[in-house]
């Protein structure tokens, strides 16, 4: 019995701080309140040292919202407060995505009034009804964000915000929202279920195409109600088929299906099929639309496009391909060869529908003699140098003696393998330098500059004709390595998250107010751009 107690004690002690917290003489005190005034009791306050690594100190506020961290060593700290139902904020932060204000403490200093006001989360409420205006119960309502990932619009879930089911009145409440623009979707009897068939996934205010969904703006602590969705039944169909490996063997595959990007313009979530050991698969309750079905087994992937229009689709055969191999070498214009192989070569997927739904794409293994090999390549792709040695840029890609720079090549079958690829790197790197200034003419430390080819054909995901740069503290920026050509340069006051700025729609808007520049081989160009309208 004694030994059991000891073991438990050790287990309980292990996850705790392995190092004792450093002891000092400084103190931080403050209050956590609601933005409308009342104190927030039992809010969690976390103190983190920004100059010394270590576990945070955690305190809970008392009845009056007060908290205290005593015996702190001198140093630089951030203080963050959180509570269920409220947006977590750092001291000095008004909004979740802005920078907070660190606190610099001297020895024996007591800093008072480190107060944090937490806004409540936002929420979206409403009702889901059927074609007769009668409530639909058990509908899963999700709030999503339209994000651009890899230059493609994609609906993504909002972290920490759970889908909610409608009650018997058809009502829902989705909460926990930070300020932002959201898409509301309602889903009942999803593909593969027989629960309440006939209703497609519907986006507010009543479209089945996520691109046509209205964005609902949620301000700080805002609750938007009456977001009502009416679902209209459609003729659904069943898709059945079998999966085969490249050698013709039927196999029980992972089979996934999602609406085709070509017809919706956005990437939707994939659903899985009911699969049988003999390779048979089935998707039931499929609304009309264009779909892409993907089967995968190990590194083998197969695709099949299907158009559904109310009638069952049967006997579909999906055959996986073993993947192609790309073999080649890296060469350098001029005499200089970089010392290190700081280089990434990837086959960048050119068609979202023929990109693996899951997993990471293959990348090149680069050998000591600058030869390289990429295996298991599937789907149409461009060869891209995503990282070049310092001072070098891609000049051209030569496949079987022909220029294949920026060309889309089909991959998947063994016969589509290529063994004579030359990737030519050059020291003639173009540079656009300049200063970003705000509306008053002062250097702008925030915002960004985007340079993009004038030719709209170059506006695709991962294009090397698109580049963005954030300015340094004095407003200066550098965009290096763009291929020669005609470009448009435009300032933005905020860079859309991830690579959302590569969205052709976004670039199209920027083009109207952009500055035109021409770059030749290795040209150094200086420009000055201003952020207008701030």
């Amino acid at each position: 019995m004694t030994s059991l107690v000891v073991v438990l004690f050790v287990l309980a002690a292990l996850p705790q701080a392995p190092l004792p917290l450093p002891i000092g003489t400084a103190t931080i005190r403050g209050h956590v309140v609601r933005t409308d005034g009342p104190p927030l009791a039992r809010a969690e306050v976390r103190l983190l040292s920004t100059d010394k690594p270590g576990p945070p100190r955690v305190a809970m506020t008392d009845e009056s919202g007060g908290y205290e961290f005593a015996t702190l060593p001198a140093g630089r700290y951030t203080v963050t407060a959180s509570k269920t139902g409220y947006v977590a904020l750092e001291f000095g932060q008004d909004r979740a995505f802005e920078a907070g204000q660190p606190i610099v403490l001297k020895a024996r200093e007591t800093r008072e009034r480190v107060d944090i006001a937490l806004p409540r989360h936002g929420a979206i409420m409403g009702r889901v009804v059927d074609e007769n205006g009668e409530p639909l119960e058990g509908v899963s309502v999700s709030v999503k964000e339209m994000r651009s990932l890899g230059g493609r619009r994609q609906l993504v879930s909002v972290p920490g915000v759970l889908p909610r089911q409608t009650n018997e009145l058809g009502r829902y409440r989705v909460y926990g929202l930070q300020p932002g623009d959201y898409v509301v979707s309602a889903e009942v009897g999803r593909v593969g279920s027989d629960d309440l068939p006939g209703y497609p996934v519907t986006y507010f205010p009543g479209t089945i195409n996520p691109v046509e969904a209205h964005r609902i703006h949620i301000g700080l602590s805002e609750e938007v109600s009456s977001v009502e969705l009416a679902l209209t039944p459609v003729r659904t169909a069943r898709i059945t088929g079998r999966t085969f490996t490249s050698s013709g063997e039927p196999f029980q595959a992972g089979v996934q299906m999602r609406p085709s990007w070509r017809s919706t313009g956005a990437i939707a979530e994939a659903v899985g099929a009911r699969a049988q050991p003999d390779g048979g698969f089935e998707f039931s309750n499929v609304p009309p639309g264009d779909y892409v079905i993907q089967a995968f087994k190990g590194a083998e992937i197969g695709w099949q496009f299907v158009t559904v229009n109310g009638a069952d689709v049967t006997d579909l055969a999906v055959t996986t391909l073993p993947g192609s191999t790309i073999v080649g070498r890296v060469t350098f214009e001029g005499a200089e060869t970089p010392a290190k192989r700081d280089l990434d070569i990837v086959p960048a997927p050119a068609d979202p529908d023929q990109t693996a739904f899951f997993g990471t794409p293959s990348s090149a293994e680069i050998h000591d003699d600058w030869t390289f090999e990429i295996t298991d390549v599937s789907g149409p792709s461009r060869l891209r140098v995503t990282r070049a040695p310092s001072g070098f840029a891609l000049k051209r890609v030569i496949v079987n003696g022909l220029d294949a720079t920026d060309a889309v090549m089909p991959f998947g079958a063994e016969s589509q393998s290529v063994v004579d690829v030359e990737i030519v790197l050059t020291r003639e790197v173009t540079r656009i330098t300049g200063t970003l200034s705000d509306a008053r003419g002062a250097p702008a430390a925030s915002g960004a500059v985007i340079a993009f080819a004038e030719d709209r054909e170059r506006w695709y995901q991962g294009s090397r004709f698109l580049a963005a740069s954030r300015p340094s503290q004095n407003g200066s920026f550098v965009i290096a390595g763009l291929p020669p050509g005609a470009y448009l340069v435009a300032p933005v006051d905020r860079l859309p998250d991830s690579d959302g700025w590569q969205d052709p729609g976004f670039l199209g808007v920027l083009a109207a107010k952009a500055m035109r520049v021409t770059l030749s081989d290795g040209q150094q160009l200086a420009v000055n751009v201003s952020v207008i309208g701030r």
Partner: protein, 526 residues
């Protein structure tokens, strides 16, 4: 938890023989029978559109949805025994011919080519209970699980059946909708599952005995059913386990709350390990079963109030029964599994803890261990119906329907459980007081000869007339029976000797013979 559910079904089975297991249709069975009907509101008779109508009995038939006139059709059905039920948001789930949720519905028996047109389902509006749950500091409690359990009173006990579950939102608010009229207990549990999970009963009490039932009628809205999650201090029960010599013994124990009602929402089983264990328990009656690694077993029942309690649980050597199942006629199919039970009556503390059973194939030997307290040796077919016990033979005695009191370490070996599949059937119709045929009635059949209660409950069967006003009961052990038609029969509560004695005057006698069907006309008893 699993044990609790098993035990509840044991209670049901004691009076309710398992319905014949139906072979699952291979896939998308088709036939030539048709079933049509209409879904309407119970109050005004207005048609309900888009109601989901499902067939029970055969699982592979896809549900259908009603048209604008409330009508639905199942065509191409195989011959069979169908239960029709409907769901629609805002209405209580409704089954054809079901007067109350605890009474059996009217089955629809269809032969090949039959067309039944009149399945009218009258859906009452559902009730809802909604409110807000706050913690002891007044903050809304998010992600608490709130359950409305319907209380169903039985003859000797009460069960609670979860009818709706909701999770509180960021405002602490919940809504339990879709409830049929009835009496409900509302419980809220803290988000984290496990031993640290705390349950509170409306209006904010820790003990189910203090819970305030909420009675709702059709279409009732119980708004503002608010309560505070302020868990009070629970009394501690200290259990010291001792072995045969009275020395402290290590044991694994399960403790289940068995009062005042049983059911999925009401029974929580707490596992315990050690020689002295001290769980904190809500007030009420608790049943404890313990076993030691050395083979000792113990059973106890204890009432917990608000004060700490200590008990000593002596572990005794469990009783053991071994034997074989034999067929009356000699042949026992190899692939017919049986479940052999050391059945404990509900009145014994063991009755509500763990069922002692063994599953055996054909004539393979069986063994029941850890037996303590009064037990009956029973057997029933695990899958196919049709087999029944005719005798339990040991040392020249027939122990069928007898209680064997296991006090510690008794062993009965070489027990022969004699089974037969040579039962008979009874079917027929019923007439009212003036001799007019009845369209809708219940049936109770029971042995003519009076005898022990266990025998009455083993042989009694309840049923309900189908859509044609006919009834059928299969697999009855041969013998002399009485049958009676009733306005209502509680098929979940076992009949008592006094109850059937009152029915004898209006009952019709009949004889069930091996592999034969007897047809009778039963009379309605008031």
């Amino acid at each position: 938890m699993a044990a609790a559910i098993v035990l509840l079904s044991e209670v049901m089975l004691s009076s309710h023989p398992q319905p014949p297991a139906r072979d699952l249709p291979a896939s998308r069975q088709s036939g030539t029978a048709t079933l049509r009907g209409r879904v309407v509101t119970a109050d005004s008779g207005e048609p309900l559109r888009n109601a989901r109508v499902a067939l029970g009995g055969i699982s592979n038939i896809q549900p259908v949805f009603t048209a604008n006139d409330g009508r639905f059709t199942f065509a191409g059905l195989p011959a069979g025994h169908y239960i029709v039920s409907a769901r629609k948001a805002g209405y209580a789930p409704t089954t054809f011919g079901q007067r109350r949720p605890d009474l059996p519905p009217i089955p629809i028996d269809l032969e090949a080519g039959d067309v039944f047109q009149d399945a009218e389902l009258r859906m009452p509006r559902s009730a809802a209970i909604s409110g807000r749950i706050i913690d002891e500091f007044g903050d809304p409690l998010e992600l608490a699980t709130v359950v409305a359990s319907r209380i169903v009173r039985k003859e000797s006990f009460t069960v609670s059946v979860a009818a709706a579950t909701a999770v509180t939102d960021d405002l602490g608010e919940y809504r339990l909708g879709g409830l049929p009229a009835g009496t409900y207990i509302v419980t809220a549990s803290t988000p984290k599952r496990g031993p640290a999970q705390i349950r509170v009963y409306y209006p904010g009490v820790a003990a189910r005995v203090q819970a305030q039932p909420i009675v709702v009628q059709a279409a009732d809205e119980r708004l503002a059913t608010d309560f505070t999650f302020a868990p009070g201090r629970l009394a501690k029960l200290t259990i010291a386990f001792t072995d045969l010599k009275g020395e402290p013994a290590n044991a694994v124990a399960m403790i289940a709350n068995v009062s005042p009602w049983l059911g999925d929402a009401g029974v929580n089983i707490v596992p315990m390990v050690g020689s002295v264990v001290t769980p904190a328990l809500e007030p009420g009656d608790w049943s404890i079963f313990a076993r030691s690694p050395e083979g000792g077993v113990g059973i106890a029942r204890v009432s917990i109030g608000s004060d700490d309690t200590s008990i000593t649980m002596p572990l005794a050597k469990g009783g053991r029964v071994t034997g074989r199942i034999v067929s009356e006629t000699g042949s026992l199919p190899r692939d017919t599994p049986f479940i052999v039970e050391g059945f404990a009556d509900l009145s014994s503390p063991a009755g509500l803890t763990v069922p002692w059973s063994a599953r055996v194939n054909g004539s393979a030997p069986f063994e029941l261990t850890e037996l303590l307290g009064p037990r009956q040796i029973r057997a029933r077919p695990a899958v196919a119906a049709g087999w029944f016990v005719t005798a339990v033979l040991h040392d020249g005695r027939n122990l069928l329907d007898e209680n064997i009191d296991f006090k510690g370490g008794e062993t009965l070996s070489g027990v022969q459980i004699v089974v037969s599949d040579r039962g008979g059937s009874v079917n027929g119709s019923a007439v009212g007081a003036e001799g007019a045929p009845l369209a809708d009635y219940f049936v109770l059949v029971f042995p003519e000869e009076t005898g022990p209660l266990a025998r009455l409950r083993r042989l009694a069967r309840a049923s309900r007339s189908n859509q044609k006003g006919e009834f059928a009961i299969e697999h009855l052990p041969p013998g002399r029976y009485l049958g009676v038609a009733l306005e209502e029969v509680d098929t979940a509560a076992p009949p008592t000797s006094e109850y059937v004695d009152r029915l004898r005057a209006r009952a019709t006698p009949f004889i069930v013979a091996e592999r034969q069907t007897t047809t009778v006309i039963l009379k309605l008893a008031q």
